[in-house]
Point group: C2
Chain length 212, copies 2
């Protein structure tokens, strides 16, 4: 789509119907034939972003390993944000047109969110409060917050200010995934690291007794 | 500081030495007497933001309840971002001047990060991998990611697109804090919710035996 190329080159704030028109080689008024307003163009672009993002997140179908699935989806999330920073910013960090007037944009946003939520369905979630109808939505918000924040921080100038090495950045990503698993299910998806080798009798009892 | 008012009114991108000069009622060249370049002004503003942010996060001194302390700090974090959106954006979402050339900005950024990290020192952190020298930094990155992402999402237009009610937004914040506690220590800082009232003998044993 032509508008994407303009966005990539000029930044979101510069996008205008005039830019779109010039880019596609038609007169200034031509885009109005297809889209009644700038908001309609933006809503269409954002709708396509959400569609592409949802397809990307769903690239790896779920297996029977919910922790691995969550980590795989998280890595895809971070990869999308890294590969398409302006599309990502368009979806999550810029003023969007009124969703009530642009139902396709809203539907596609819902669909992308549902990919996050669906990954939670297969996990044995540890309960933190009485379950409610939208409980899984709240956990999806938590995962989304962590991934969105991590992605934003990794692409900000803050890590340079904190002198964080590339190795520690990669380790931060791994740590976030381990903590997410621990947060959701009460275990991090990997075997516990014993301080010394367990004897057989201890190994059996450690699965039913909390070690303090 | 005058520059702050200009930022609040005009947005970060519009900040220029000319704006600062006009605002403080001096000629265009005057600010150069105090700051050699636009980067030096920006670095000074950002340094003051980090300083103010760190003071704000430290408003409530730590108690002997690490989960409550973490939640209190998290709420202060979200409150600062809500009350000072442009200062927040300046620190975390805009291009910063080269930190090597602006040591005070870097020191203040480090100090703000250390407030997050210090809150972790008092928690009995559940280990997810062999401990390393910067292990607490990695966990601070995790908390920061969740808080930064949550704050960004709460102030984005995405929640309108997802039709999330204000009640569910507040519940999302609570859920994030519960999941953060669970992620860090393996318990969510609140007593488990029993499915039926416990008898005294069970209540005693439930503190040492994991219920499955």
């Amino acid at each position: 789509m032509e508008a994407f190329r303009i966005i990539e080159e000029a930044g979101i704030e510069k996008l205008s119907l005039r830019d779109v028109a010039r880019r596609v080689g038609v007169s200034h008024q031509a885009p109005y034939k297809h889209f009644p307003s700038r908001d309609h163009i933006l809503a269409e672009i954002v709708a396509r972003c959400f569609d592409e993002f949802a397809v990307f997140l769903g690239t790896r179908p779920p297996s029977d390993q919910p922790h691995e699935d969550l980590q795989a989806m998280g890595l895809l999330y971070l990869e999308y944000a890294q590969r398409h920073p302006l599309k990502y910013r368009l979806m999550f960090s810029t003023p969007l047109p009124d969703p009530r007037r642009h139902p396709r944009m809203m539907q596609n946003a819902h669909h992308a969110f549902s990919i996050l939520r669906d990954r939670l369905q297969g996990m044995p979630l540890r309960q933190t409060e009485p379950q409610s109808t939208r409980s899984t939505d709240l956990d999806a918000m938590f995962i989304w917050s962590t991934l969105h924040g991590l992605s934003s921080i990794l692409h900000s100038d803050m890590l340079a200010a904190l002198k964080m090495s590339e190795l520690d950045q990669r380790r931060s990503v791994q740590r976030c995934f381990a903590r997410l698993s621990l947060a959701l299910s009460g275990n991090d998806g990997t075997p516990a690291i014993p301080k010394r080798p367990l004897r057989k009798s201890e190994a059996r009892s450690s699965s039913s007794t909390r070690r303090r």
